[in-house]
């Protein structure tokens, strides 16, 4: 009967909990087991960001953290300067938060791009990309 009330109020069944735990534990197992994969990911990620801004490749930090329901990937990418070519194309494409760029309204993007251009951007204390890692 307790089970019935649990379901009634949207509590998770223990098998659903088991599945969720498994998904997370395997994600982190696989990440720990595939350091070269993480290196590849890092390199390609930086390649993409470098198309828009010049980054300090030596000081990039990429790590994975377990949050409540997902494993999140944090990338700390110091930006050295804006690419001249990219700036000519329109400042709205250059943003520190490369990953969020497409989701934001255009107006806000423009503004953040301006501040980014004006400010010295050697350091980016906030993670630039917070992406839930895909389930395997």
């Amino acid at each position: 009967m307790i089970e019935f009330f649990n379901r009634l109020f949207g509590h998770k069944s223990s098998s659903a909990t088991a599945k969720e735990r498994l998904r997370l534990v395997l994600l982190s197992d696989h990440l720990a087991l595939a350091p070269n994969l993480v290196d590849d990911l890092k390199r390609e990620l930086v390649d993409v960001i470098s198309r828009y801004v010049e980054v300090d490749r030596e000081n990039i930090e990429l790590n994975f953290q377990q949050r409540e329901k997902v494993i999140a990937m944090f990338a700390n990418v110091p930006i050295v300067s804006m690419h001249p070519a990219t700036r000519a194309n329109g400042a709205n494409r250059t943003t520190k938060r490369a990953n969020d760029a497409s989701k934001r309204p255009r107006r806000r993007r423009k503004r953040s791009a301006n501040t980014a251009t004006n400010a010295p951007i050697a350091e980016t204390p906030n993670p630039v990309a917070t992406t839930p890692a895909p389930a395997t």
């Binding site: 009967m1 089970e3 019935f4 649990n6 379901r7 009634l8 949207g10 998770k12 069944s13 223990s14 098998s15 659903a16 088991a18 599945k19 735990r21 498994l22 998904r23 534990v25 395997l26 197992d29 087991l33 395997t136």
Partner: protein, 283 residues
Amino acid sequence: MMQELKLQEEPLSTPVARGRGTAIVVTSGKGGVGKTTTVANLGTALAQRGHDVVLVDADVGLRNLDIVLGLENRVKHHLLDVLEEQASLDDALVADKHSPQLRLLASAQTREKDDVDTQKMRALIESLAQRFDYVLIDCPAGIERGFQNAIAGADEAIVVCTPEVSAVRDVDRVVGLLGNRFRPRLIVNRVRPELVAKGKMLSVDDVNSILRLPLLGVIADEPQVLIASNRGEPLALDGSSKAGAAYRAIAARLRGDDVAMPDVTVARPGFIKKLSAFFGGRR
């Protein structure tokens, strides 16, 4: 001796042309998920179908396969005796009580896994594969030396998993360690359909949505499994047991027969369950 038998009377059910057999390792990572029981039952079921089968207990130091088969009193020599040339292979192979075409190569109880020479183990499995249709290798738990020795000579791998977080995690790791040489097939053991229906146990689909392996079979948990182990009589011989039937079906699939998966779901949701499902309860 066995070859002569074959020449005299080729069993009709044997699809494999006489030649090198198949060496299959049964592994899991985690202990206690039913590897040994699986090996005993698949071996019995294959032998009952007319194949020459040898079971190799690769769990050096924790010998169990002889017990499950009820052959513990017949073991005179073991795997390490053969590897170290203290006994001939023929002397070490134990004939099964129930299935004339089944043989056991028992493990050593008083030795350690590190005593096994991996190269010699590979050569032994190869020579067994020349003589038998199927060589089933019972792998020890763990992923260390014993595991490496057990997989060394195998052509194929079967992984046994129970619907538990720890077992699935270990199988995932083992599959990674088996690497590209194998495309392991999965047996999900100890499924309790009534618990799955109540949302208290991972379903076979839950397990395999994570592991994504070719599904070889599903064994429901039932008291007969324990009873059979108590008696030392493999369940595959028991016509009334569902698990026995499931093992026979797996053996048929190993031969390449197209056998439908048994339905291990409970299809009778009670009133409360229907009601809670109506209210959006999760299973």
